[in-house]
């Protein structure tokens, strides 16, 4: 039997087993998504799923999408492999924890393309993508400093990983640009999606006198809790205004839609590359939700900062950056911290009242 026949026999077997259609040139591109939380988390996974739905709307019959939600670390390798072997052409794995399983499966399926969100390992068929969330957080910091009466602002983080740390630093740097004496309290809930602990985190911060809360976790639970006490907050990943209509100031909205559309188009055109994408406001990978519940001058300033970051005029990590211990951080970019420094950020800047867990 020739190799082609073998492949055909294999495809036939797969068809029989899974009722799939044989591959043809005008076949739809099959896209699989692996999600860490439920699509109804109204945050991180919800926003990725919005991107998936946009694919179906944009490409119509040209794509076919599937997803598996709430996939734990131990199940990830099997789920990714199942997607790969059932004829998916492109598979998005949307959590940092899927990095090793994605690489392992990608080695076994060289003809399938993989895209891993927020990771740093790539190969011939694994691309990575992420957004510069910290750009938006600088704007949030400015708003927080203007809206806070106590001078103490808060931040709910998921894990003390560089992406979260960079967001906290950008937030306090933005706040200090308005009020150099502002103080930032930090709490970690040790989960991306755990509404009960996110609520507890918000309470812990408010009990310490915090009157504006930012978050880097996936559900709107903390924003609802803050709203109950009339404390201001910022949504994360998706526009959370419906959950705190009177107290939400704005949200950083992750926009994966354009990126996903570009990548599917690249697969259709045959131009897909295992690239590393890290886009922010200028690339439209993050967007700011409307500035609400704040005086006009605060909103105008936020909009001006947003425009300055988008045009490249302002970088949140403009040197000199002073670390918490008082030392100056080496400036490895062009007058700013380099991308590598931001991606591996493992220090707090001055003004954060807590220390980075080690």
């Amino acid at each position: 039997m020739k190799r082609r026949d073998l492949v055909a026999a294999g495809a036939l077997a797969a068809m029989m087993a899974f009722g799939a259609v044989p591959a043809q040139a005008d076949d739809p591109v099959r896209v699989g998504f692996v999600f860490v939380g439920p699509v109804g988390d109204f945050g991180w996974t919800y926003q990725h799923n919005q991107g998936r739905l946009a694919l179906e709307e944009t490409f119509g019959d040209q794509v076919e999408t599937t997803y598996v939600e709430s996939v734990s670390g131990g199940d990830a390798e099997r789920v990714i492999e199942q997607l790969a072997r059932t004829g998916h052409d492109l598979i998005f794995t949307t959590s940092f924890g899927y990095m090793e399983p994605t690489i392992r499966v990608a080695e076994r399926f060289p003809d399938v393309k993989f895209e891993h969100a927020t990771g740093f390992r790539r190969s011939d068929n694994v691309a990575t993508y992420n957004a510069r969330f910290h750009e938006g957080r600088y704007i949030l910091g400015q708003i927080a400093a203007e809206m806070s009466e106590s001078g103490v602002i808060g931040y709910i983080g998921a894990f003390p990983i560089p992406e979260v740390t960079a967001g906290m630093n950008a937030y306090i740097l933005g706040a200090q640009s308005v009020n150099p004496d502002i103080e930032l309290r930090v709490v970690y809930v040790n989960a991306w999606f755990d509404p009960a602990r996110e609520t507890d985190g918000a309470r812990a911060l408010m009990d310490q006198g915090v009157d504006v809360i930012a978050q880097h976790v996936d559900s709107p639970a903390a924003m609802q809790t803050a709203a109950d006490r009339g404390v201001y907050g910022f949504g994360q990943a998706s526009d959370m205004i419906d959950f705190a209509p009177d107290t939400l100031l704005t949200s950083i909205v992750n926009n994966w839609t354009d990126y996903y559309i570009d990548r599917i188009q690249a697969v259709i055109d045959g131009t897909w590359e295992p690239s590393d994408t890290w886009g922010g406001l200028s690339a439209d990978m993050i967007r700011m939700a409307p500035y609400t519940n704040m005086p006009d001058d605060v909103a105008e300033r936020a909009a001006a900062t947003e425009a300055a970051i988008r045009s490249g005029e302002l970088n949140p990590f403009t040197c000199p950056i002073i670390a918490q211990d008082g030392s100056e951080v080496p400036c490895e970019g062009d007058g700013v911290l380099s991308d590598a420094q931001v991606l591996g950020m493992d220090f707090f800047v001055q003004g954060i009242a807590d220390t980075l867990p080690n």
């Binding site: 087993a17 670390g73 199940d75 390798e77 040790n190 493992d346």
Partner: protein
């Protein structure tokens, strides 16, 4: 009008044997109705959920791997449950076993330690799980504390201990502060079985546990003592069987096997410690133990069925876009039906009409 359960004097053997099968069929029927109500085809769902995975070698291998921790834990639990002791904390013993075993993997990381590491890890894990299982047993024997509560509460203690370790001292120094340990060396990784894809030798260990338990329960005095203590505690006392010793022993066996399952999962599948290493295997195994009638072969079959349901749930998401929650609901449904079937085998229903 009300319905009463009246104990049958002599439950029929065939009914007892067929009860789990009937329970499965009933749960399929109910799930089919739900799926039909959602506007999907129950036949297609059955195809994707049950039939396809059974026809496909890759799926069968994955089912075997997924079933391994369930079977090993459930085998351990069967010792407890047979003696009418309720160990609900296998999840915690699983975690502590994984911690004990992983300690050695991390201590020898990067040292070229050699072949002895893996067997030593397995033994350490069993010791860890057994010690952790012995805590509720000791509290029960010494202070008469209800073992259901203590074993369950200790699950949360174990989870937090693991959490502390992977975020603290056992965190990978090169891991960007992400809460996970280093990836284990090859010497500390459970090898795959040749020609079976990524299926590791833990599957064989599960089979060994089944066979050994068959012999222990069927052909040893200890097995007999266990049955008597469970079915007729007074008779056991008259026969001079020490209840305290039985309690401690079965909890150690049960915890030891759960710990073994823990290190097999970590070293064979995850290959590193993470804050969460089990999607609830310790609890799902309780269903498996009962579905398998506390019988080793029954547990083997039940473990496969449960793994099939879990993996079928993923297929249903991929092929039919059925939600994940449905798979969870289906799992609960199976347990409910099995317990109901059991109740109906040993009791009959009597309808009592209200008096005027």
């Amino acid at each position: 009008m009300r319905i009463e359960l009246v104990p049958r004097t002599e439950p029929k053997a065939w009914a007892r044997a067929l009860a789990p099968v009937a329970a499965l069929l009933v749960s399929f029927a109910i799930a089919g109705l739900v799926i039909w109500g959602m506007g999907r085809s129950p036949v297609a769902a059955f195809q994707v959920y049950i039939a396809d995975p059974l026809m496909d070698p890759w799926s069968l291998r994955e089912i075997a791997m997924k079933a391994t921790p369930l079977i090993i834990i459930a085998i351990g639990l069967s010792y407890c449950f047979r003696a009418n002791l309720w160990n609900i904390g296998a999840e915690g013993q699983f975690i502590v076993g994984a911690i004990f075993g992983s300690w050695l993997a991390l201590a020898t990381h990067g040292t070229d330690a050699g072949m002895w590491v893996l067997p030593a890890m397995l033994i350490l894990a069993m010791i860890g799980g057994a010690l952790y299982g012995a805590i509720p047993a000791f509290l029960r024997v010494r202070f008469g504390v209800n073992e259901i509560l203590t074993s369950l509460f200790l699950v949360y203690v174990a989870q937090l201990l693991l959490d502390y370790l992977v975020r603290g001292r056992w965190r990978d120094p090169m891991g960007f502060n992400f809460p996970q340990s280093v990836v284990f060396d090859t010497a500390a990784t459970l090898p795959a079985i040749a020609g079976m894809g990524r299926v590791h030798i833990g599957v064989i260990i599960a089979l060994v546990a089944v066979v050994v338990t068959m012999i222990v329960l069927g052909r040893t005095l200890f097995g007999y003592r266990l049955r008597v203590s469970g079915d007729a505690p007074r008779a056991a006392r008259f026969a001079g069987f020490s209840q305290a010793r039985t309690i401690i022993t079965v909890f150690c066996i049960s915890g030891g096997l759960a710990g073994l399952a823990g290190i097999i999962e970590v070293s064979g599948v995850l290959r590193q410690l993470q804050p969460s290493i089990s999607p609830g295997y310790g609890f799902t195994a309780i269903i498996v133990a009962f579905l398998g009638r506390l019988n080793p072969i029954g547990i083997l079959v039940a473990g496969f069925i449960m793994a099939l349901i879990l993996i079928g749930g993923e297929n249903a998401q991929i092929m039919l876009r059925l939600p994940f929650d449905l798979a969870l609901a289906f799992q609960g449904l199976v347990l409910l039906c099995v317990l109901s079937a059991d109740a109906l085998v040993s009791n009959r229903l009597r309808i009592v009409r209200a008096r005027a």
